[in-house]
């Protein structure tokens, strides 16, 4: 047990606090840089807006189909999913090139690159800096015991299995700051700040999603809807309600 490990106060003054402060400052800087680089809000394409609205409307139809008479439902179904000019019908050739078109759009590629650059460059730089100056020593101790599994998370850069897990290495402190400062940023930069790394990574992975896919998914969903008019049941329910009211 390494319970009597004493940390130098100089570590606190010269590693722990500077590291946190630098992380916060870099986050703020990155926010402003990305704000500068963001291209002036481009207008959404009417076609994409329309597709989104079609999906909402078709979803409504699917959810509440039983509330309208069968005739109206059939008319709508044909309107949405006929093979000629239905709203949800995507011609075959068009489906594939949507993604290619997205990438060929120089503006969009540029935008993505800018976002990536503003995220990756400062991260690599700070990581190199932390690695160079502060690698390989214990910087802090958390006040509660943890199991061995947390060793890789908290003692990154120290290859000693005898040190108690509650000690945090400086590199791990950097990682903790990198991912844990989101709450602080949303406090100082406002709610919708652009420094949210985790969310941006999610966005990146879902970037190439293409709207025609959701259209055809919605069409498939609509195709299998069985229309069963709910209104005749309501007569009995209304009768019951009235009986309760009258009595």
């Amino acid at each position: 047990m390494a319970e009597d490990l004493v940390l130098d106060t100089a570590i606190r003054d010269w590693v722990l606090i500077p590291l946190s402060v630098v992380m916060v400052l870099i986050g703020v800087l990155r926010y402003f840089v990305s704000k500068l680089m963001r291209s002036s809000s481009q207008l959404p394409d009417p076609k994409i807006v329309k597709e989104g609205q079609v999906i909402i409307r078709a979803r409504n139809l699917r959810a509440a189909a039983n509330f309208i008479p069968a005739k109206s439902f059939r008319a709508r179904k044909v309107y949405y999913s006929n093979e000629e000019n239905g709203l949800l019908f995507v011609p075959k050739g068009q489906a594939q090139n949507a993604q290619a078109q997205m990438f060929s759009d120089p503006n969009m590629a540029m935008d993505m690159m800018k976002k990536n650059l503003s995220m990756i460059i400062p991260q690599t730089l700070t990581f190199a800096w932390v690695n160079f100056f502060f690698s390989g020593f214990v910087a802090a101790k958390i006040p509660f015991p943890l199991t061995q599994r947390f060793r890789s998370m908290l003692q990154n850069g120290i290859d000693l299995s005898t040190v108690d897990v509650s000690y945090v290495s400086s590199r791990s402190w950097y990682f903790l700051n990198l991912f844990g400062l989101r709450g602080l940023f949303s406090l100082i930069l406002g709610e919708e700040n652009a420094t949210d790394d985790t969310q941006r990574m999610m966005q990146m992975s879902g970037f190439g999603m293409d709207p025609s896919k959701s259209l055809s998914a919605e069409k498939d969903g609509l195709d299998i809807v069985q229309h069963e008019w709910a209104l005749p049941k309501f007569e009995q329910r209304a009768e019951a309600a009235l009986r309760k009211l009258v009595s």
């Binding site: 609205q53 509330f67 209104l231 209304a238 009768e239």
Partner: protein, 301 residues
């Protein structure tokens, strides 16, 4: 959507503020939240807050929302001068804002200078061709000028893109009803029912339209929708109760002589008649005799 409790709350707050009990800001917030159109009260109470520097500064950034709300109310109360002053204040605070631009265009509308308003809206649309509110305002402006075909046309064009916008569907339905184009109106109400199936008022309007269209099938459908309104409101909607009685009477008239499966459904009608009588006895004794006469004539026919 305004529920019963909220309606009562608004009315209580209104009379409280009217009698000098305070709570003007809460009232204004509630009116904004429920999207009510009580322009005269909003103008009066809003002015009393805005003219009091202490109360005004207590609002913080909400102050500007209040300015906008009161400006629109002033336009609605035919006080364009007052509205102009508010708009000026907002213009000073937010130069170049599109929202203030819309407000200015609305001011032109309120003054009746349609051409200028149209020009202002067009320039707003140039900046952002997908500005929903501006599109809606243009349709409303056409309606205000009495150019209903144009209003319908622009609404249709708008719904071509923003087809999930309920408010526009509702406006279109109301316009169609006013033109007695009931088939089209029925389509719009179906759309509204689809988007919010639990709101009884859409069921009720749809039933009204179907009843007006007439014909046996439509009447039967209308009766079903009146029934669903009764179910969703627990039988507290008088119009739906009357609707059931009228539908049953009309269906009876059409199927005179060949009444076969009609017997089972008559329960609903008699129940709603009883419910109506009970309601009238409770709330309006003096009109009770009128009701009995009406019901009797319906049953006889």
């Amino acid at each position: 959507m305004v529920s019963k409790t909220e309606e009562e709350q608004v009315n209580r707050l209104e009379s409280q503020v009217e009698n000098g009990g305070g709570g003007a800001w809460e009232y204004l917030c509630l009116v904004r939240k429920l999207k009510l159109r009580r322009s005269d009260k909003v103008l009066k109470f809003g002015l009393s807050i805005l003219n009091d520097p202490k109360k005004r500064s207590a609002l913080g950034p909400e102050e500007w929302t209040l300015y906008e709300e009161v400006a629109v109310a002033a336009m609605d109360c035919q006080c364009p001068d007052v509205a102009k002053e508010f708009t000026k204040v907002l213009q000073k605070k937010f130069p170049g804002s599109k929202r203030v631009g819309r407000l200015e265009a609305m001011l032109l509308e309120a003054k009746g200078s349609w051409a200028e308003a149209e020009k202002a809206y067009m320039s707003l649309l140039e900046d952002n061709p997908l500005d929903q509110i501006v599109h809606k305002r243009r349709a409303a402006m056409a309606k205000a000028q009495g150019n209903i075909p144009l209003a319908i046309e622009s609404l249709n064009k708008y719904l071509e893109i923003f087809m999930a916008d309920q408010d526009a569907w509702r406006e279109l339905a109301e316009i169609y009803v006013s033109l007695q184009m009931y088939k089209q109106a029925a389509f719009c109400y179906e759309e509204l029912i689809l988007s919010q199936p639990t709101i009884p008022l859409f069921h009720l309007s749809y039933a009204d339209v179907l009843y007006t269209l007439g014909g046996l099938e439509n009447l039967q459908t209308a009766k079903k929708y009146y029934a669903s309104t009764i179910d969703l409101t627990g039988g507290k909607n008088t119009r739906a109760l009357f609707g059931i009685c009228l539908c049953t009477a009309a269906i009876g008239q059409l199927t005179k002589g060949r009444n076969k499966e009609d017997k089972e459904n008559s329960q609903l009608q008699s129940l709603s008649a009883v419910a109506l009588e009970k309601d009238y006895k409770q709330r309006n004794q003096s009109k009770h005799s009128l009701l009995t006469a009406t019901l009797k004539s319906l049953k006889l026919s």
